[in-house]
Amino acid sequence: MSPSNIYVPYLMEIETITEEAPEVRTFRLKFKNQEEGENFKFSAGQFAEYSVMGGGESTFCIASAPTRKGYLECTFRKTGRVTNALSKLEVGDTVGLRGPYGNVFPIEEWEGKNLLYIAGGIALPPMRCVIWNTIDKREKYKDITIVYGARTVNDLVYKNELKEWEERPDINLITTVDPGGQTPDWKGEVGFVPTIVDKVAPNAENTIAIVCGPPIMIKFTFPVLKKLGFSDENIFTTLENRMKCGFGKCGRCNVGKYYVCKDGPVFTLSELNKMPAEY
């Protein structure tokens, strides 16, 4: 295909499919054209446009870490038209992929600091990339804490990885489920994510907080972090605005003078404060 047509996707083959939670799947994708795969470079925080020919195109973050070579992963919940079409695909089927788009988490600037990851529900996938990226360079960071919550135990995604993180002495993992979402043998916390962050009360000193989740979770988590002493510059999030093109033209993710697809999706709270609250 002509490289000059910015709407044409790479063709990817589905290598594996992992059932993460009810209606939530992870695709491991590899480039059909090896050369395209070798030239494809991305950084933690970036997203892509994934498509099924005839089923449409949709936006998700790249859920695998750039430190894990040879494949890309995306995790999605079957909700809309495109994710329904994706859900029908099997191993060996073809997915279109455009990208990578958007800005990145400044992980080099975070070196020597503590990292506090806070995620809710299906928002762990956009954060999984940066989590693994920093874990793969573990010696460069101080404490790594992950607070992850979902509606029910069943809705927690990446269950195997949660187990791995839990077992590692150099990662502090706190999982929680909404009240009523626990099973009899649930060992984690029970309560909404902001409440649990407040309870765990991580030290804000020399710490970067990365928050991703449904808008309501983000809205109630920011004040807790502020109370704990986090500055706006040290609180990061990745916005989930609806997108189509991914390159600042279709107008969909325009918020104030910013385009989430170009200026984001990664923003600090200090940057968010300068934008109208249309995300």
């Binding site: 295909m1 002509s2 000059s4 047509n5 910015i6 709407y7 044409v8 996707p9 063709l11 498509s51 099924v52 020919m53 005839g54 089923g55 449409g56 195109e57 919940r77 909700t79 809309g80 994710t83 060996g92 089927d93 073809t94 279109g96 449904p214 808008p215 989930e240 605005n241 609806r242 189509k244 093109c245 390159f247 600042g248 033209k249 279709c250 107008g251 969909r252 325009n254 918020v255 104030g256 003078k257 170009k262 109208p276 609250a277 249309e278 995300y279």
Partner: protein
């Protein structure tokens, strides 16, 4: 190049049109049909309207078609094949008799499709576009080009700008190399100018507001009650965006049957609720007043701030097309007067 001024009479103008059409150019000219004046491809010279004030639709579809096929695909079982569309084969289009507002709008489209990622599909059409403009000798109450740095005789965006004189002849301002090549190839149709002055015949369009002041007010105007007060009647039909020569919001969709199909780019509008709706059901702009605000903020605040152009050429089409008489000029005049406390 240094602009040149020539004179062409109506008979010669029709000849020029037919000669450009006969040379294989796809002509796009306004025709009065079914109670509306709109641009059509390749009408006969005798069908072209020179008396309308404004066409219902703009001419942006010459470079940004309502539907653009991006590529085709054929899929079966485990195989997917993408079929490239050769955009080098798009025809040369000559927009004939476009008013200065429409001619000027192309530069805004150029910015959108070329900032950062370069959209070669757009450029393939744009590079083959010729604009023969026509100054306005009549305007109506919806026209406000002079308030957005343009005017009934503005040359911006035209390769040749024609201005109809009282004696039935036209001043032809040759403005670009492309315009000059057309004038040179048809030199016998033009005569020398004799100091004719277009200012004498141009429509009078009073300046109604300062767009600089509107932009300044909008900087802190996001939370103003104005939006709610002035847009309750908006029904969110999107007509304003479809007739706008600058609105470029688009959607990307697949259409296919039995594995064969196309991915296309089609016009969309920030006025629709679906435009920003998240899969979760959350909508950052959930009510119509927020969408109307987005439309005006984008044109008069975000685009000047980000892309250094005003997203409006004052053609007045949105006001004329609106089924519930939302009048953009009225609102801009109000926005200029609005006292907004700095945050």
């Amino acid at each position: 190049m240094i602009p040149e001024k020539k004179i062409i009479d109506r008979v010669a103008l029709d000849k020029l049109y037919e000669s450009l059409k006969a040379a294989g150019n796809k002509m796009f000219a306004p025709v009065f049909r079914n109670e509306q004046t709109n641009f059509e491809y390749n009408p006969a010279a005798t069908e072209i309207s020179y008396s309308h004030i404004q066409t219902t639709q703009s001419v942006k579809n010459t470079v940004f078609p309502k539907i653009e096929n991006l590529f085709r695909f054929e899929s079966s079982q485990k195989s997917v094949e993408l079929v490239q569309i050769d955009f080098t084969k798009v025809p040369r289009v000559i927009v004939w008799n476009a008013h200065p507002c429409d001619a000027a709008a192309f530069s805004a489209l150029d910015s959108v499709f070329n900032w950062d990622y370069v959209d070669e599909i757009y450029n393939a059409r744009r590079e083959k576009l010729v604009v023969i403009g026509m100054s306005c000798i009549r305007a109506d109450e919806n026209c406000f080009c002079t308030s957005v740095d343009l005017g009934p005789g503005a040359v911006k965006g035209s390769d040749i700008l024609l201005t109809p004189l009282a004696n039935g002849k036209f001043i032809a301002e040759i403005l670009t190399d492309l315009g000059k090549s057309i004038a040179d190839e048809n030199a016998s149709l033009f005569t020398a100018s004799n100091g004719e002055n277009k200012e004498e015949v141009l429509a009078k369009v009073e300046k109604q507001f300062s767009h600089e002041k509107v932009t300044e007010n909008l900087k802190n105007g996001f939370e103003n009650s104005f939006w709610h007060e002035f847009s309750l009647r908006c029904i969110g039909c999107g007509a304003c965006a479809y007739v706008c020569p600058i609105c470029t919001c688009f959607d990307i969709q697949d259409e296919s049957k039995a594995g064969k199909g196309r991915r296309l780019r089609c016009w969309d509008s920030c006025g629709f609720g679906m435009f920003t709706l998240h899969t979760s059901g959350h909508n950052p702009r959930e009510v119509q007043s927020q969408r109307w605000r987005q439309r005006l903020m984008h044109k008069f605040s975000y685009q000047p701030d980000r892309n250094e152009f005003i997203g409006c050429v004052g053609c007045g089409r949105c006001s004329r097309a609106c089924p519930v008489d939302m009048n953009i000029l009225e609102q801009l005049v109000e926005l200029e007067k609005l006292e907004i406390a700095a945050k």
